[in-house]
């Protein structure tokens, strides 16, 4: 029983990580209807930038806010400079550009910041074990941050007219133009926001898994699995999906396949969802009538 409880808390902690990255993926999907393969590398770069700011002596939350701003600008610039010129190109070109960015950003991060594994501070340290010693302060804190980001994103997309306009621009760019939405600006904003959310995920993940240039690769896969499981167009669904994947991964790792096949669990989830239920568990089935 004790072991199972510990297992479960581990699930929730890692699930929180996947949930926050899944949220970033869904975010960019909402804004562009694309899945960015370089999302993980962008988040890792942001986290290194945060670390640099903290090492330069800035208080944690100042560095946190600064990283959000820098990441937002970085995401918007990527859209402007790299994605815009190939906007109307075939999907193969988009995939190629994502792969190119993954290579450039990932290797650049290693080049500039080095490949040694680094500690990343947590803002929630000092609390000691909580809730009967099952959770560390950071685990609870990062889950809280993920949920807070989720609520903000959800409110943004459903309640603000800017969020609505971003969704409209992704669903139907032509109609969006006809109601006066500046679609180009929406795309750049979407990329910026996704990069900012990704950076939050990176900063929450790094204290747990330690920071190195390849930190996000495996996590990104789980996050994809989570996003697909929850429904790629559904932010709360993606968060649920992320937690679910965390649970599945840990339970499968502990009781079924062993820890050395964990990545394969993600692969199986991804294929399973896409083949059996492409809209995800909580995704909205979109009706179209002609």
């Amino acid at each position: 029983m004790e072991a199972f409880l510990l297992q479960l808390t581990a699930c929730i902690a890692t699930g929180g990580i996947y949930a926050s990255v899944a949220l970033a993926i869904v975010m960019i999907y909402q804004a562009t209807h694309h899945v960015n393969f370089a999302q993980g590398e962008m988040a890792t770069l942001s986290t290194f930038i945060a670390l640099t700011m903290i090492q330069a002596g800035l208080p944690y939350w100042v560095a946190f806010a600064g990283t959000l701003v820098v990441s937002f600008v970085m995401g918007a610039l990527v859209e402007r400079l790299i994605m815009r010129p190939v906007q109307h190109a075939p999907i193969l070109t988009h995939v190629g550009v994502y792969i190119g960015m993954l290579l450039i950003i990932g290797n650049l991060t290693g080049w500039v910041f080095g490949y040694t594994i680094q500690m990343f501070p947590s803002p929630f340290e000092g609390g000691g074990p909580m809730l009967g010693g099952l959770f560390s302060a950071h685990q609870l804190g990062s889950v809280a941050v993920t949920l807070a980001v989720l609520i903000l994103v959800y409110l943004f997309f459903t309640k603000t007219s800017l969020g609505l306009a971003m969704r409209a621009a992704a669903y139907n760019p032509r109609s969006a133009r006809l109601v006066g939405i500046r679609v180009d600006v929406m795309l750049a904003l979407g990329w910026g926001l996704a990069a900012a959310i990704g950076s939050v995920a990176g900063m929450m993940v790094a204290p747990i898994v330690f920071l190195d240039p390849n930190m996000m690769l495996g996590i990104l896969l789980y996050a994809f699995a989570g996003a697909l499981l929850g429904g790629i167009d559904n932010p709360p669904g993606a968060v649920m999906g992320g937690f679910l994947v965390g649970v599945l991964e840990n339970l499968a790792g502990a009781y079924i396949v062993g820890t050395d096949l964990k990545l394969t669990v993600a692969l199986v989830i991804i294929i399973g969802v896409l083949v059996l239920k492409p809209s995800g568990l909580f995704g909205r089935v979109v009706f179209t009538r002609v």
Partner: protein, 234 residues
């Protein structure tokens, strides 16, 4: 004049579709563009709203709008209900309404919502429903409501009768007549059904392969022998 178009040319890539059109829409008036399939009616509307790049002059209340981006033209007061309606199928009726009024910052938006509910009571019943689940007629109504919420000076309508049952078409044109009387918006109407179009319009132009071959007040066009035989069917 609300809209003045001079020597309008447009096309898709190497294919030219419009070969120099001149026409106009009066302030608060309804102008109909008639013609067979492929005559260039839809392209004309797209050229006015900037969905295809026009050459020639397009003046909205005397201001040149040719060459501006679609979203800028929309912000200047041109609302286009395109072919295929241009509603956001994945979003709810309410969200479509909010998007229609996206560019507006004035306090009358709520009042305009109420006005749309009065004109299109069925949309109020469907308020929280996804637009893709509406019937064809309801979607057309939503498309028109969405366009009117922009508070346009000029409304471009592309075949509002397309694919709809005759009874529903009658309803929609009754509403259009009411809109024309109550709102004072100018309308440029493209319609295959010449009868309906000429009932609503005060002025009409006949297009053939990208050129205007006849124009005049709607009542006169209706009397024309050739038009009657080819387009009105009696």
């Amino acid at each position: 004049m609300l809209l003045e178009v001079k020597n309008l040319r447009a096309g898709y890539g190497p294919t030219q579709v419009l070969f120099g059109l001149d026409f106009a829409v009066a302030e608060g008036g309804v102008t109909a563009l008639l013609g067979a399939n492929g005559a260039g009616k839809t392209t004309t509307l797209r050229a006015v709203s900037g969905l295809v790049r026009p050459e020639g002059e397009v003046l909205l209340s005397g201001q040149r709008i040719a060459g501006l981006m679609t979203e800028s033209i929309a912000r200047l007061g041109v609302a286009h209900v395109p072919d295929g309606r241009g509603t956001f199928m994945e979003l709810t009726v309410e969200e479509n309404f909010r998007l229609g009024a996206y560019t507006r910052r004035d306090p009358d938006v709520a009042a305009d919502f109420a006005r749309m509910w009065e004109w299109f009571p069925r949309l109020k019943q469907r308020w929280r429903q996804q637009a893709g689940t509406l019937s064809g007629g309801e979607q057309q109504m939503l498309a028109i409501a969405r366009a009117l919420l922009l508070r346009p000076k000029l409304l471009l309508l592309d075949e509002p009768s397309f694919g709809l049952a005759p009874l529903i078409v009658r309803d929609i044109f009754a509403i259009l007549r009411r809109i024309r009387e109550e709102s004072g918006v100018g309308i440029l109407l493209v319609e295959q059904n010449a009868n309906l179009a000429l009932d609503l319009a005060d002025h009409a132009y006949l297009l053939e392969t990208g050129r205007i071959v006849m124009s005049g007040p709607a009542a006169e066009i209706r009397q024309d022998e050739a038009i009657r035989r080819s387009y009105l069917g009696y």
